[in-house]
């Protein structure tokens, strides 16, 4: 008897909760657009606020890991409130597309301004910025000419001299996916196996930690995304600037396919309920001013060719990029992960 009384209380609690939370979603304004973003709030929110100031369209934002957001859109199905998905790598956008979560952007005028390699081949997503995987080298122990192509990292002379983060990281996964796309899985595996044998230590830490390791002479070269080096060079922290100044940055494969590049990008969800606003927001994100802000906020390269690149990045010169395979990175990502497991890249 007494037990049931407890259970009744428990039920009552549920009813109250349900009532409260039913009212909550009902209080939403008419002119708005809902964004699920894998890009960090700090690197996108200011731009969304500007969009609101210009158009009066309210932007609602949730940020989390892209994979989790994709899963959320999938399970929310037709009722999903999400209009726009932003991710920080092409593979994830491709995954959302393959799961049939995105709709075509083909009649969006702005996509004509963007180079074709930065748009999905079925027009389901469009890139917003470029991020390049580069080599950081010790100015003391390495000369810029010692290394030209990613393939050189497999040579014996780099034995115990390379630092890189764990293969759990998407940047490394898409780097390996790009090698599979370019050379086929067998050749890529042979190459990566030898590169892994040249690692100076077990992969740990983030990209910045690898740059610091080169500055400390723990290793002579590191594989990192270009913007971390830029951020360190511009850091308020003297120690970070000092470390960054001890090392140099270089782009690989400049005389052939180009350096490995990944993108952050955006798509409109299949069941978007604020379609017009979503289209307006994407058009806004791809205008010259937004592109310049979006790219510079994180020292990335804009995709819009008329947008100015940040001065520091500009000073590194023109870069040839491995752009043609961007569309394949998503498909090859699982292969890349397994390949890295097989060759022991932790």
């Amino acid at each position: 008897m007494q037990n049931t009384r407890f259970l009744n209380n428990y039920k009552a609690l549920h009813v109250i909760l349900i009532l409260i939370f039913t009212i909550y979603p009902a209080i939403t304004s008419a002119s708005e657009v809902n964004v699920y973003s894998g890009r960090k709030a700090k690197l996108i929110k200011p731009l969304l606020d500007q969009f609101y100031n210009q158009t009066g369209i309210k932007v609602n934002l949730v940020t989390a890991k892209s994979d989790a957001l994709i899963k959320r859109i999938e399970s929310e199905g037709k009722s999903s409130p999400a209009d726009i998905l932003i991710t920080v790598d092409a593979g994830r956008l491709d995954r959302a597309k393959k799961m049939d979560l995105l709709q075509s952007l083909s009649n969006l005028p702005v996509i004509k301004k963007i180079p074709k390699n930065y748009i999905d081949k079925d027009n389901k997503w469009i890139a917003l910025s470029k991020r390049i995987r580069t080599i950081i080298f010790s100015k003391e122990n390495t000369k810029k000419n010692d290394i030209k192509n990613f393939e050189d990292l497999a040579n014996n002379e780099w034995s115990k001299r390379i630092c890189v983060r764990s293969s759990n990281n998407i940047y490394n996964q898409s780097l390996v996916a790009s090698l599979i796309a370019n050379q086929g899985e067998k050749n890529a595996e042979k190459l990566i196996k030898r590169v892994v044998e040249n690692f100076a230590r077990k992969p740990s830490g983030n990209d910045r930690a690898q740059i610091k390791a080169v500055a400390k002479n723990d290793c002579d070269i590191a594989i990192v995304n270009h913007y971390y080096y830029a951020i360190m060079l511009k850091s308020k922290d003297v120690a970070q600037r000092k470390a960054a100044n001890k090392v140099g940055l270089m782009f690989l494969n400049q005389e052939n396919r180009g350096a490995h590049v990944n993108v952050s990008g955006v798509g409109i969800t299949k069941y978007s309920k604020n379609l017009e606003n979503a289209r307006k927001l994407i058009t806004f994100l791809l205008n010259k001013k937004s592109q310049e802000w979006y790219a510079t906020a994180n020292y990335e390269y804009p995709v819009l060719s008329t947008a100015k690149t940040n001065e520091l990045l500009e000073s590194w010169g023109k870069v040839i990029l491995d752009e043609e395979i961007i569309n394949q990175l998503g498909d090859l990502n699982p292969n890349a992960v397994k390949l890295m497991d097989r060759v022991g890249w932790q």
Binding site: Y24, K71, R208
Partner: protein
């Protein structure tokens, strides 16, 4: 229950080729590292927690009160933050040993999790009666003998509980081990999900992890099945703090300061340094809105979880053989499941349910209510329940177990019904356990990350999300403000609650 059925049902999906790949290449590493991590963290937290709890509950020394609540503070430090902080410190002093390995990960996680053991063991030590202690002394036992042969065995359920919680949280940890380069079961689960885009195998791995945890917990519970840990004589006469020589005072203080210094003072000072000198983040109104959100959410959720835990534990006490009780046993293992897995396990059933409602409403009334459960705070708090029910219900259970059933029977003989017993007898006696459970859950939710980030409604930001976004973007310096606020917000309940626990013993 639904999320657990969902997890378990994953076993019935066909096992695909990715399993072969995992078994061939990485499973051994995952298994070994996870086991070593859980055992290592269990051992370290046991030592740090029990020793400090014993010293602060037996001896009198200067700053005892201050130290005894400061010892809880590491709990408010997210483990990945202290790992990043220490790597930062070690990088600037070349001579320190590298922590980017398994022992390093064990140490980092133990430094922030030993308070589980500390708070529970201390609660248990303080509950032990004066008579027991004095009788042991009369029988000629030394301080250490009393500790090992009387106090510790009496406190065993509490200590084991603390150690289990710490080990479970270590198993579910992602941020710390990933940063320190230790591949574990949990990093493997995410690698399979995110990297190989294989949610089925990822959930199957999570189920396997859960099964292993279940076996361990079951063995431990079975080993003390026949023993009930209740003192027959509960007296109000609590032990007085023992006065010790100055030299011993110094030793005691030093020992207590060790985990405190490494788990809290050093990383906290480093965070303050970053925050004041290098951070680009402003302490503006937006930031304080986030602080308010965090505290409000953590407070409400912890309160709801506490109420549910009381119900769950009572069902167990009143009818230990019921099926509900068996289910509850499983539910309270949620702590060992990595957050993102809990997130999908609650998201999929609720979102499906929401879609049914909407389809029904649209077909009947051409009207849609949107996501009632899955897009709101409901699902977030529900997910917190799944994850943290373990903590509070086990804390309350260990308190409840120390009240002997004879007490209940005596009360019943005197005509009290279940509710009166709860109100008049159990509640006052359980105050410590209830407060402890609330405190741990409150702080845990404040620093909880994956569930909050994945399941939160639009435009709702919390401190842990902010700290993690900045830290994972390699801006640990900018993350310092948010990390400091998590700690500061944690201090308030810590002081309040330790006051309540502290009020128990009189100084001579």
């Amino acid at each position: 229950m639904v999320p657990f059925v969902f997890l378990a049902s994953s076993i019935f999906f066909p096992f695909n080729d990715n399993w072969l790949h995992i078994i061939d290449n990485v499973l051994y590493d995952y298994f070994f590292n996870s086991l070593a991590l859980a055992l290592g963290v269990g051992f370290c937290t046991f030592i740090m927690g029990t020793v400090t709890a014993w010293l602060t509950s037996i001896f009198d020394f200067p700053f005892r009160k201050l130290i005894s609540w400061l010892l809880l503070m590491p709990l408010a430090m997210p483990a990945y933050i202290i790992a990043i902080t220490y790597v930062g410190i070690i990088d600037s002093f070349g001579f320190l040993p590298d922590i980017r390995n398994l022992p390093g990960a064990i140490l980092m996680i133990s430094f922030v999790l030993y308070p589980y053991v500390y708070i529970l063991a201390r609660g248990a030590f303080l509950e032990q009666s004066k008579e027991l202690y004095e009788n042991s002394q009369i029988l000629g036992a030394s301080q250490l003998q009393i500790l090992f042969r009387v106090s510790m065995p009496m406190a065993r359920p509490s200590i084991i509980l603390g150690v289990t919680l710490a080990a479970m949280e270590a198993l579910a940890d992602f941020g710390t081990v990933e940063f320190l380069g230790v591949p574990t079961f949990t990093t493997g689960i995410f690698r399979t999900w995110f990297g190989m885009n294989d949610t089925v195998t990822a959930t199957q791995m999570a189920s396997l992890l859960l099964t292993i945890v279940f076996v361990f917990v079951f063995i431990e519970q079975y080993s003390r099945k026949k023993v009930r840990y209740a003192e027959n004589i509960k007296t109000q006469s609590k032990l007085n703090y023992k006065i010790i020589s100055n030299k011993n005072k110094f030793i005691v203080i030093t020992i207590c300061l060790l985990p405190l210094t490494f788990g809290f003072i050093i990383p906290f000072l480093q965070l303050i340094y970053w925050s004041f000198f290098l951070s680009n983040e402003a302490w503006n109104s937006e930031f304080f809105q986030i602080v308010k959100n965090t505290i409000f959410l953590a407070f409400c959720s912890a309160f709801i979880i506490l109420i549910i835990s009381v119900l769950v534990t009572y069902i167990k006490r009143l009818s230990p053989k019921s099926i509900t009780n068996k289910f509850m046993q499983i539910i309270t293992l949620g702590y060992a499941i990595p957050g993102p897995v809990v997130a999908i396990a609650v998201l999929i059933p609720f979102a499906t349910f929401d879609n049914y409602i909407n389809q029904f409403l649209i077909s009947k009334f051409n009207f849609s209510v949107g996501l009632i459960f899955s897009g709101t705070f409901f699902i977030l708090i529900f997910a917190y329940c799944i994850r943290f029910l373990t903590v509070s219900s086990r804390t309350i259970k260990s308190g409840l177990d120390s009240i002997s059933l004879a007490t209940d029977d005596a009360a019943k003989t005197l005509g009290a019904n279940t509710q009166t017993i709860l109100k008049k007898i159990h509640f006052p006696m359980l105050k410590t356990s209830l407060l402890t459970g609330f405190l741990i859950v409150f702080i845990d939710i404040m620093k909880e990350l994956p569930l909050t980030s994945i399941l939160r409604p639009f435009n709702f930001n919390t401190l842990s999300v902010k700290a993690f976004e900045l830290a994972s973007d390699e801006k640990i310096v900018d993350a310092s403000n948010a990390a400091i606020m998590i700690v500061l917000a944690g201090i308030i309940p810590v002081i309040f609650i330790t006051k309540n626990i502290l009020g128990k013993r009189n100084k001579v």
